[in-house]
Amino acid sequence: MLDKLYLIFGVFICGLFIYAGTIGMQLVGAENANAVKGRTGPSYYHK
């Protein structure tokens, strides 16, 4: 039972890793996770 669960988990992780590799996605601690729509802050001064 445990080994079957691990098989599913492992295939999922490997698949996720390969997918993330193709689009340059960082799976943990991505620094642009807090991207916002629209211009704020200093960009406001960019005209």
Partner: protein
């Protein structure tokens, strides 16, 4: 005689055990020469001795004189868990319990029980019990090749578990050798779960037996026992490890997953284009804040979706520069705020040189869509020797850079369960070898 190791429930193998029964046994009753009680022999013609169920005296059963060989002088009377005469089917054959004995390891005092089984067509077998663990035992004619650490038989290697001496403590029923309370044998046990090889040596004969671990519930069902057998305690020497089989399967999968991950990582890193999109130096004021926001020219970020690295390099020397700002997508207006500090300190304290920080700081942006971007930045700095000077820092933007964080995170997540399985397996094995003088898990000093 042969006995078993403490804690193993291993098998007794009396010397001269007949492999098959040459003559058909008969049932015979007679009067005990000691107490006058009625004694029944189920294997008359094969049994050498029989023990009176009333007074525990050992009686010669080789002829119809039934002479008294010895009287029972012990203080403790043991009750067998299987009634003599009870029958059960094991390994597809019907067996009758005809004898019962209790043995004790001389050095540790550990006791275990053994039950002699009989089938007129297949001869004798044993059931051995210790700590609630059971073994089904048969004598073997082949002599295993042994050395100080192991025994080999039929291509299988058995590891030495026990070497010692055992005394016969109590007997009941009938036996195919001259049984005697107090008789002593040398014993050796070798294990390869779920099997065990046992050697018994009594000075004149050497007998090997092969034991197979059997579950109590299987015995309860086979012998239709009304009372449950005692629960198992601890781990038997040849008890199959469920943790081991799980670990073997999970371990193989783990190795395959790691191989896949490593291959994918090598390919991803090798194929990363690592393209420089933008590089330019900018000024900042020492020990002060920027008065105007720095805005870079718009630069092109190729490829539909990939990571982006923005690196800040500054020549700091026991000082720091902070850069805060945002990456702006000129096409969509999406904004990604960031801040980075470049700080490098070094010195010499208590006779030792030290450094802290770096002249470079990198920001990784994940799965960023391609397009046209620019960066807005404000700066602040401190700990510089002079104030108000203009110094430079360099901003470099790279597209599709090789990274390793995903690889190590996936490695970590994939290793949690195998790690637990390994620890579980090891814990079981340590418990298995706990009572052995030959444990591979003992420290060198012990």
């Amino acid at each position: 005689m042969a006995g078993d190791l403490p804690n193993s429930g291993n098998a007794p193998v009396p010397a001269g055990t007949p492999a098959a029964v040459p003559t058909k046994p008969r049932i015979k009753s007679f009067t005990c020469p000691n107490c006058g009680g009625s004694v029944e022999i189920r294997t008359f013609g094969l049994a050498i001795t029989v023990v009176c169920p009333h007074c525990s005296s050992v009686i010669d059963a080789t002829n119809e004189d039934f002479q008294l060989l010895s009287k029972f002088v012990g203080k403790t009377v043991y009750k067998p868990k299987f009634e003599l005469g009870s029958r059960g089917k094991l390994k597809g054959k019907l067996w009758e319990v005809i004898g019962f004995c209790v043995r004790r390891d001389v050095s540790s005092g550990f006791q275990w029980e053994e039950y002699l089984l009989f089938n007129p067509y297949y001869g004798y077998r044993w059931l051995a019990e210790s700590n609630g663990h059971w073994n089904f035992v048969r004598t073997i004619k082949d002599k295993p090749a042994t050395d100080s650490a192991s025994a080999e038989l039929g291509g299988a290697t058995f590891r030495v578990y026990y070497r010692g001496r055992a005394d016969m403590v109590y007997v009941l029923g009938e036996f195919y050798w001259q049984v005697a309370v107090g008789s002593r044998v040398d014993m050796e046990d070798y294990i390869a779960p779920p099997e065990m090889l046992s050697l018994e040596r009594d000075g004149t004969e050497v007998v090997w037996s092969r034991a197979e671990y059997i579950l109590p519930k299987e015995l309860e069902k086979s012998f239709n026992l009304k009372e449950k057998l005692p629960p198992r305690r601890g781990v038997a020497p040849n008890q199959p490890s469920p943790a081991m089989s799980t670990w073997k399967r999970v371990g193989v999968m783990w190795a395959i997953f790691i191989a896949v991950l490593t291959t994918a990582q090598c390919m991803t890193a090798g194929m990363a284009s690592n393209t420089t999109c933008f590089v330019q130096s900018f000024n900042f004021l020492t020990n002060g804040k920027s008065t105007d926001t720095i805005t870079t020219p718009v630069f092109d970020v190729p490829k539909q979706k990939a990571n982006l690295a923005i690196q800040f390099d500054g020549n700091t020397d026991n000082s720091w520069v902070w850069v805060g700002g945002e990456l702006v997508n000129n096409d969509t207006g999406d904004v990604i705020p960031f801040d980075r500090t470049i700080s490098y300190y070094h010195g010499y304290d208590d006779g030792e040189a030290w450094t802290e920080g770096s002249n470079s700081s990198r920001l990784h942006l994940s799965a960023l869509p391609g397009g046209h971007y620019y960066i807005n930045m404000d700066t602040e700095s401190g700990d510089w020797k002079t104030t108000g000077d203009e110094r430079q820092f360099i901003v470099t933007v790279k597209r599709d850079v090789p990274t390793y964080a995903n690889y190590f995170w996936c490695l970590f997540f994939l290793s949690i369960l195998p790690g637990m399985c390994f620890m579980n397996m090891r814990q079981f094995e340590v418990a298995r070898w706990n009572d052995s003088d030959y444990s591979p898990y003992q420290s060198g000093s012990s």
